[in-house]
């Protein structure tokens, strides 16, 4: 008795991309995610939508995939992408030889570049170092990880795809050398059950080897921790890359209201090992200084780390060459029937956010083939989200004249009309509960009552609550009464408060100086002083 044709494990960009793709082909699928969607690597990166420029020299195939996917995503998901453009900048420390090689490689990968004069560059990015040597424009953009993951999930749901968050895939279930399902634990209530299916797709990212390991299949995923810094405001208008072989701290990404500087690289033992360290912060700042002089004067609101799940180079993986698949070295699709003789299990590892859709397409092609489904992939053509109707936009602008309503509507999608109606009926709910990121009380209330929301951090990922300048100083306590209204869904309020503040604190601690130190003192006064919230 099978429940679904396919079970996907992992609710990151790749997982939800696969869920959408399969659902669009009419294949019944369930996605299991142990936390909230996009809680892992898909929200812990710099938010860059690669033009491919960074891979042009080292990995031309990845570069070509990036530029193709870049153009596709800009077309199908304009609401999740800010088309900022990007620059590659050569400083006096960067080799001219590499620049020439890079120009040739970009041409080879069909990445359009344009040289920008230094005077134009200095005018357009006044904070950038004036002593740079050459500047090239590329079609880099920025992408909101949370939003694109949710957009995929919503689109999949529209095609009858299902997903369960806070459901952990504890182990694979096999029968006579074939994977027949997944043993699942609902982490919210502890219930355990088994889901039966024809094929399990392991898209668990940094957790992928644990899942394969549950039936003794070796899957070599290296946890590569990358730490990034979030500055309080947009310091650059566009993505600014160093024009040199990729390394730590050589990219600034203007993401939403902040600027992200990344990224370090360090192998760690576990996917949970994602505490940013002071040492990493220092090294990022040292390198960042070369593009942004006086970098220490700029306020950093937090540091955060994500785990890149890296796979061994795929020519090591049996089956790949024989199949002659069009999978680049950057990600690997592993059919365990070919590799380990276990039917009904496919793993997808490695890769990058920019190519999540392509990875999903490759996996879905393989799954469809196995299931005898011949419907072709449409994810590159069909818009991820419907257009926001003009009248909704106008109503929002009228009700919230000072808010960035476009962003709000893009976050809310089909819930937008409900939220606007609520604000119309109860105008005080139009007040900004999170003032830094301008999230209204009505929007937080909606997110808090959403069936997929189980913690304050889930509201944060859906709305950006607590992600701005004050890092939750004011919005955390303001959100509590809204959780209280739905208290049966949440942990005790002091537990929610403690967890949320501790998550914020984890990122603030390594950058605790200057204005952020003042902010933290104010936060401490509110929670330890006024609210007498002193433990931990």
């Amino acid at each position: 008795m099978k429940d679904y044709q396919v079970v996907i494990v992992g609710g990151g960009a790749t997982g939800v991309g696969i869920l959408r793709d399969l659902s669009m082909r009419g294949i019944s699928a369930l996605l299991l995610e142990q936390g909230d969607l996009a809680h892992g690597t898909s929200s812990r990166f710099h938010g860059l939508l690669h033009s491919g420029g960074r891979y042009a020299v080292k990995d031309p195939q990845s570069a070509a995939e990036c530029i193709d996917e870049n153009l596709i995503l800009k077309k199908i998901a304009p609401h999740c992408i800010s088309d900022t453009g990007g620059w590659f900048v050569q400083t006096k420390d960067d080799s001219p030889g590499y620049v020439e090689e890079w120009i040739k490689s970009c041409a080879g990968a069909h990445i359009p570049i344009r040289e920008v004069s230094i005077s134009e560059a200095c005018r357009k990015e006044p904070l950038m170092d004036k002593n740079v040597l050459r500047v090239f424009e590329v079609p880099d953009a920025t992408v909101d990880g949370f939003r694109i993951v949710w957009a995929n999930a919503r689109s999949a749901r529209h095609y009858n795809g299902e997903f369960r968050t806070y459901h952990q895939a504890e182990r694979l279930v096999t029968d006579k050398g074939q994977v027949t399902g997944v043993a699942v634990r609902n982490l919210l209530n502890g219930h355990q059950f088994t889901v039966h299916c024809d094929i399990v797709v392991n898209a668990a990212g940094a957790w992928a080897s644990q899942l394969a390991g549950s039936i003794g299949i070796p899957l070599d995923v290296i946890c590569d921790k990358g730490t990034l810094l979030a500055f309080n405001q947009r310091l650059f208008h566009r993505v600014v890359n160093r024009l040199r072989p990729s390394g730590d701290g050589d990219i600034f990404v203007p993401h939403e209201t902040i600027t992200i500087l990344g990224t370090t690289s360090q192998f760690v033992d576990s996917p949970e090992d994602n505490d940013p360290q002071q040492e990493e912060v220092r090294s990022l700042l040292e390198i960042g200084e070369q593009l942004l002089p006086g970098i220490m004067k700029n306020r950093i609101i937090r540091a955060f780390s994500g785990i890149r799940p890296l796979h061994r180079e795929d020519h090591d993986v049996p089956g790949v060459k024989e199949e002659g698949r069009n999978v680049s070295r950057s990600f690997a699709l592993i059919d365990h029937e070919l590799q380990d003789g276990i039917k009904g299990l496919i793993s997808i590892v490695g890769g990058k956010f920019t190519t999540y859709r392509l990875m999903a397409e490759k996996v879905s092609d393989r799954v469809a083939e196995k299931l005898g489904n011949t419907t072709p992939c449409h994810t590159a053509e069909e818009d991820l989200l419907p257009e926001i109707p003009e009248h909704v936009y106008k109503k929002a602008a009228r009700l919230l004249p000072y808010a960035p309503v476009e962003k709000m509507l893009e976050r809310l999608q089909e819930d937008a009309e409900d939220v606007l109606k609520e604000i119309e009926q109860t105008p005080h709910k139009g007040q900004m509960l999170c003032e830094c990121e301008m999230v209204s009380m009505a929007e937080v209330e909606k997110a808090a009552s959403d069936e997929d929301t189980h913690h304050l951090a889930d509201i944060r990922r859906k709305t950006r609550l607590g992600m701005g300048t004050c890092q939750g100083a004011f919005c955390t306590y303001r959100a509590l009464p809204l959780l209280w209204q739905k208290k049966e869904k949440y942990d005790s309020l002091d537990e929610e408060l403690r967890n949320f503040l501790n998550q914020r604190w984890k990122g603030i601690r390594p950058v605790l100086w200057g204005q952020q130190l003042r902010e933290t003192e104010l936060t401490r006064a509110i929670y330890s002083g006024i609210l007498q919230f002193t433990e931990n």
């Binding site: 405001q233 700029n298 306020r299 476009e406 003032e435 004050c470 004011f474 204005q515 902010e519």
Partner: protein, 402 residues
């Protein structure tokens, strides 16, 4: 570069405490006005993303600067809002033609003054004609109820000058020049009485009205013209004095344009006189003046961060009793309260001041009100029906110069 770095650090300094909004006089009376924190530092992060937020609401900021003096982090909130207003104007969003024309005119108090004082009698008659005021309201959005000031024959600073070793440059400002020349003469006489030669170059508007109406670049140009006129005196170390608190705020901020803060010696009149007093160089040959006064401190005096030197000084005069009203902003804020859609807000803001004045007068606490700011004088007269004038007139009486 220097500007960009300053701008960045200025925004970074905000710790979101909301003290500015708590003290904002406009937010206190207008629930639709989200306040300086939202329109300033909060929206600024989104403006850097290219989003235009609240272009129409920005104009509800009265530029009183209460937010800036309140901010514990020294964030230049009003400046941020003014710049956003200018950018919104340049990008053509959030304004209609009528208010564009009106704000253009109000920004140019100097030219309005020049025009109005060609035939001040005719101007005043027109401005007192209800039909004409209806036309102004309909055509330009200037409230027909607003207390537009009376124009007089233009201030002529010459003809009084005694040559003296000690010199000051006097900056009369548009209000004295076009609406209240007698106060300009009074200020000159008081300074001369204290042994100063008073020099009055043909100054332009201080630029506050331009900034208030969202013309930042023009404001800077005007400021530079004034600086050019002041330059020889600045070099010679001659102090610059003004009796208008809005001009004073602007002049003090000229520092950093073409002149350094240490070179520019700009003073409010009473700040200067009090400094003389502290050096025992201020003449206190006062006659007794039996008068009780209510004192209103203008927002732009507070913005200068110099306390209330006029109150301290007038209390040196035998017989003078001064009560500090301490009721916040009068609401007018330059031309803000003259605008049709803002008149009511301005009157509500000023209401605590008006109430306090009426109460004080009714209880014989004082007979009239003094305040340095010409705009506040007009508004308090309008709102409370009580005589209101510049504090220099009390000194004139005490010195027997009237």
């Amino acid at each position: 570069m220097i500007y960009e770095q300053d701008r960045t650090e200025n925004l970074d300094a905000c710790i979101k405490c909301s003290a500015c909004t708590a003290m904002c006089p406009v937010a206190a009376v207008n629930p639709l006005f989200p306040g300086p924190k939202v329109l300033g530092p909060d929206a600024e992060r989104f403006r850097l993303e290219g989003l235009q937020i609240g272009a129409a609401l920005l104009n509800y900021c009265s530029k009183c600067r209460t937010c800036e003096i309140t901010c514990p982090s020294g964030v230049k909130i009003t400046e941020m809002i003014t710049r956003a207003q200018e950018n919104a104007k340049l990008s053509g969003s959030g304004k209609n033609l009528q208010s564009n024309i009106r704000d253009y005119l109000f920004g140019r108090a100097e030219y309005l003054g020049k025009l109005a004082t060609i035939l001040p009698g005719l101007t005043n008659t027109l401005l007192r004609t209800p039909l004409f005021r209806q036309v102004l309201e309909q055509a330009l959005g200037i409230s027909s109820e607003a207390p537009l000031p009376t124009y007089r024959k233009k201030f002529n600073p010459f003809g009084e000058g005694h040559k003296n070793r000690k010199q000051v440059v006097y900056f009369p400002g548009c209000f004295v020049t076009y609406n209240d020349p007698p106060t300009g003469h009074a200020i000159t006489k008081v300074l001369e009485h204290n042994g100063y030669e008073v020099i009055v170059p043909p100054f332009h508007c201080c630029s506050t009205p331009l900034e208030g109406n969202g013309y930042v670049r023009e404001a800077k140009e005007t400021a530079k013209k004034n600086l050019a006129l002041m330059n020889p005196y600045i070099r010679a170390g001659v102090p610059l004095i003004t009796g208008c608190t809005s001009c004073g705020t602007a002049l003090k901020e000229y520092a950093g344009l073409d002149v350094s803060a240490s070179e520019l010696q700009a003073y409010d009149l009473f700040e200067f006189l009090w400094a003389l007093h502290e050096q025992s160089e201020f003449r206190t040959d006062f006659k007794e003046v039996q008068v009780s006064l209510g004192y209103h401190s203008s927002c732009h005096l507070k913005a200068q961060g110099i306390g209330t030197p006029s109150v301290r000084l007038l209390r040196l005069i035998p017989g003078v009793r001064v009560t500090d009203l301490d009721q916040g902003c009068c609401g007018l804020s330059g031309s803000y309260g003259f605008k049709k859609e803002k008149y009511d807000t301005a009157m509500q803001i000023g209401n605590p001041v008006f109430e306090r004045v009426r109460h004080g007068v009714a209880n014989d606490e004082f007979q009239s009100v003094i305040t340095e700011c010409g705009g506040c004088q007009v508004q308090i007269r309008h709102g409370s029906g009580t005589e209101t004038f510049h504090p220099v007139w009390v000194l004139m009486q005490a010195y027997g110069l009237e």
